[in-house]
């Protein structure tokens, strides 16, 4: 792991720039991360990010797209509009959470 400075704050990130420390994140950092990947945050975006943060706190892992659509109430088609091309990766990046993982 390495550290980088986002929005004037030193945070720990993995080699793809995903934040690894849940408590280092705040909304300003979220906005800065969104800007870095070209996402213009609206209330609809924040609704998703807030759900991801809350759900991670309870479950200990980043929710899948299906979980965001069934438990978070934002359907898959909309997620692709809000976070074009790679919603799973982009929303977890902005939320300061690990990206969805495989096994190898």
């Amino acid at each position: 792991m390495a550290t980088t400075t986002i929005n004037g704050k030193e945070v720990v990130v993995d080699d793809e720039g995903f934040m690894t420390e849940y408590d280092q994140w705040d909304k300003e950092i979220g906005s800065a991360l969104a800007t870095a990947i070209g996402v213009d945050m609206t209330d609809d975006h924040w609704k998703v990010i807030d759900f991801l943060r809350e759900d991670f706190k309870v479950k200990g892992e980043t929710p899948t797209i299906r979980r965001v659509s069934t438990a978070g109430g934002v359907d898959t088609k909309t997620l692709f509009q809000l976070f074009p091309k790679k919603p799973a990766k982009k929303m977890s990046y902005i939320a300061g959470l690990p990206k969805p993982h495989g096994c190898v």
Partner: protein, 424 residues
């Protein structure tokens, strides 16, 4: 007499029943297993059946014969669990009261959950190998398939045995080479994940395996529907991947009764404490193996290590004591790489797969994250181990919790030193 009811007599249910039977005094506890039929399938064998390596009878044994004779086995479809009353109701009207309940009904492939999957092309050019019937049908298809575009696809994570689709791809590559028709087959691996490999050190070990084998990868592909007319996968971001033969891994879901009983999440998986597997809602319910929602691979090896720890905890729990043992998410899996070779990986909640030796540090005999013939033989020998050691609840000479001994942990430090790249 206290009653323990176990729903599902597969890998996890059978191991739990046979191990607890040895630990629980027979005069105090009656153990009942409920399952739909008597066919206990060796599910890892489904990977090999399409290529004719295993015949259907090699992957099937009687559930009755696999369970200890003093364990009661009842056949029936589960309708609903009424957790407040501590009752399981079957669709035929029978009801079973319990003092403790174990849900071990696993997950199943659900092709009905993806638009177009069970359309006109289902079982013609659209196949799967995650069920006994599917794997048998695919074997028939591959026997005289003349080639074209073969697409291997994962609909959504989590799936049982997350490496199986990759292994299938490697084995298919070998299969077509052996048949002298590899040049007639164009192979594409379509995954919802950012790549075929997502753990850095394993990704490095596999290196260009896919490139070298001439297998294209289509990452970040969230399947929206299958267009039967065009014979193409269509993603939410409107990419299309055409196929002549699609081998898909349908959405994996827990049993429907779990949802009906209010015990499941959006995939009918039972939320549990990841260290003890006790339900987060009811302390009279545990969920073991694939049926629960722990962030570990859905694999028989996880169920095996998990149940070793679970038994200790369960015995404390029924005495009203605090559960003091913690499952670490330990898994190990052989990964078939084709050509009679395999890799072995060993990992848990906290550590990604690392190279090294297993189970004995420095000695092995099996090499971690390295292709070898010994690993392949290990995988084939595992079927015997499954039926003769794991299912009867005998002890394996390997510890249930993961060990860092024999693993090259220094690679983790090197990885940490890499410069971060702020991009997604």
């Amino acid at each position: 007499m206290r009653r323990l009811v176990i729903l599902g007599g597969g890998t996890a249910g059978t191991m739990a029943a046979n191990k607890l039977h040895k630990e629980l005094p027979s005069g105090e506890w009656q153990i009942t297993v409920i399952d739909a039929d008597d066919n206990h399938r060796y599910q890892p064998g489904y990977l090999f059946m399409p290529f004719g390596t295993y015949t259907p009878d090699q992957v099937t044994k009687s559930r009755r014969a696999t369970l200890n004779s003093s364990v009661d086995l009842q056949y029936g479809e589960i309708d609903v669990v009424r957790p407040e009353e501590q009752v399981v109701a079957l669709t035929d009207g029978r009801e079973f009261g319990y003092d403790m309940l174990i849900i071990a009904t696993g997950v199943s492939p659900r092709p009905d959950q993806t638009d177009g999957m069970t359309g006109p092309e289902w079982k013609k050019s659209i196949h799967e190998f995650y069920s006994y019937e599917g794997s048998t049908a695919l074997a028939e298809k591959l026997k005289d398939w003349e080639g074209g575009r073969l697409v291997v696809n994962i609909v959504e994570m989590p799936i049982k045995c997350p490496v199986a689709p990759l292994e299938f791809t490697f084995l298919a590559d070998s299969f077509f080479k052996d048949k002298g028709m590899r040049d007639k087959v164009e192979m594409t691996y379509v995954t919802p994940l950012p790549g075929a490999f997502t753990k850095p050190i394993a990704a490095e070990a596999f290196g260009n395996t896919l490139d070298e084998k001439g297998i294209a990868v289509e990452p970040d592909f969230m399947l929206m529907e299958i267009d039967n007319e065009k014979k193409a996968l269509v993603s939410y971001d409107e990419r299309e991947v055409p196929f002549d033969l699609l081998v898909t891994v349908p959405l994996n879901m827990g049993a429907d009764f779990v949802g009906r009983s209010g015990l499941g999440d959006e995939l009918n998986l039972v939320p549990v404490d990841k260290f003890t597997q006790v339900s987060t809602q009811y302390d009279t319910i545990f969920a073991l193996g694939d049926a629960n929602d722990i962030p570990a691979s859905k694999a028989g090896s996880v169920a095996h290590f998990e149940i070793d720890i679970f038994v200790e905890n369960f015995l404390q729990h029924i005495k009203g004591m605090e559960m003091t043992h913690r499952f670490d998410g330990h898994a190990n899996c052989f990964i078939e790489t084709g050509g009679g070779k395999a890799m072995l990986i060993d990992f848990n909640y906290d550590y990604e797969p690392l190279p090294g030796k297993y189970p004995y540090a420095g000695v092995g005999p099996m090499a971690l994250l390295k292709e070898s013939r010994v690993n392949h033989l290990g995988k084939l020998a595992f079927r015997w181990v499954y039926w003769n050691i794991l299912m009867p609840g005998r002890s394996m000479p390997v510890p249930p919790l993961m060990s860092l001994k024999g693993k090259k942990t220094e690679l983790l430090d090197q990885e940490e030193k890499k410069e971060p790249a702020l991009s997604a």
